[in-house]
Symmetry: C2
DNA sequence: GTTAGCATGTAAGGAGTTACATGATTTT
DNA sequence: AAAATCATGTAACTCCTTACATGCTAAC
């Protein structure tokens, strides 16, 4: 029945609408600004997804509430807002700390909404991401060792650069994890739903 | 008629088979070793693609040529080799220097086969890639400038890191381009089909 | 008054993943 | 003889892109 459009888009839309109601066109711009270089969505993905979310009752068209004029038939600009169910769904998505949250797909979006995510979940996502990258690192290193001799200099350079990029990201994650650990000195309690201070992930780099 | 499977896979397969004939299973391993962290293909992509290439006559099943035994019905291990048409096609693909060769998809594979690529094509691909990344850099910077105030620290950190990664890649490309320019001091002639020295792209990094 | 940008959508299709199904060969 | 890994394939499905189709509104 419901098309179950990708978790990534779903989370991104719900997360943005949680901050403030918006119409599709604006949503798309904010979306691509939010995700920066990681990902870009076109209207062909966005609008069908909005339709689905509407059908599932997670978002709703906002009533302008009879302001000054009834605006005679002009219904361009459909402003969407989160419903109560949508807010619940968003909380569920933000609480996910499994592979879906740390895979190449997914990690960027989950990270972008970290300030709305519980501290323990943040930590688990960061650690999951790190071990995934380390796993990949091992594989690539093993593959390089196995085939070292018969590689031309370009292939070698490609691998060297790829490896270095992943290593860089691991270091970045290490800093973030340290930063998280320092600002969460309460390992005993269950889930106070916003232990969150604004502590930032600021880590000076050169 | 022919399913026209992605250029990326097509180039990768033809390029690898050009080095030596192979069967599918091995091809897949060499493929993922070659592309390292960039991309990974499963059998579900590979075998259908091989089928297509076979149909188009770009590759052929290698005849074991009646060695010792007819191997009674055992036809496991299907070894593929490049046909003459396949070699031509490979040359065409390697000669491509447009967007297809420098987009996120494509660049990795084209780079991996640079030692089989003409020097002037290499340069154009590297430059194309660089300007594409610079374009992206401009967009992200502009988007950040526009929305700077209302970004929380996590989103900001995400953008900072993304930006830095792209900047790093641009610097990498700069070094490669310099390296290419230094080793190709013959700008007048048309296409000697292998000006190629083994000059490498080695550029010391700390 | 016409280009540029705002705004909403649909249809078709490309590209690859996942899960499944099957059997041969080597290692333990 | 059981387990691992080699080896080949198919079907269904996901996710997103591209191209199309349409109309309004602001700026030049």
């Amino acid at each position: 029945m419901s098309g179950q459009r990708s978790r990534v888009l779903e989370l991104a839309i719900l997360g943005l609408l949680h901050e403030s109601p918006m119409h599709g066109y604006e949503l798309r711009k904010r979306l691509n600004a939010l995700l920066g270089a990681f990902r870009a969505f076109g209207y062909g993905s966005l609008y069908p997804c909005l339709k689905d979310l509407l059908t599932q009752g997670l978002i709703a068209e906002e009533q302008p509430g009879s302001v000054t004029k009834p605006l005679a038939g002009r219904r361009s600009k459909i402003v969407y807002r989160l419903t109560a169910e949508g807010k619940e769904r968003l909380q569920d998505l933000l609480a996910e700390s499994g592979p879906a949250a740390w895979d190449d797909d997914g990690f960027g979006v989950h990270f972008a909404f970290f300030s709305q995510t519980r501290a323990d979940i943040r930590l688990r996502i960061l650690e999951g991401r790190r071990s995934r990258l380390e796993e990949r690192l091992d594989n690539v290193r093993a593959a390089m060792a196995r085939t070292r001799e018969r590689l031309d200099s370009y292939t070698l350079e490609l691998h060297r650069h790829g490896l270095e990029s992943v290593e860089r990201e691991v270091r970045w994650l290490n800093e973030l994890i340290d930063s998280e650990r320092r600002s969460e000195p309460t390992p005993g309690l269950k889930s106070p739903r916003h232990t969150d201070t604004g502590t930032s992930a600021g880590t000076a780099v050169s």
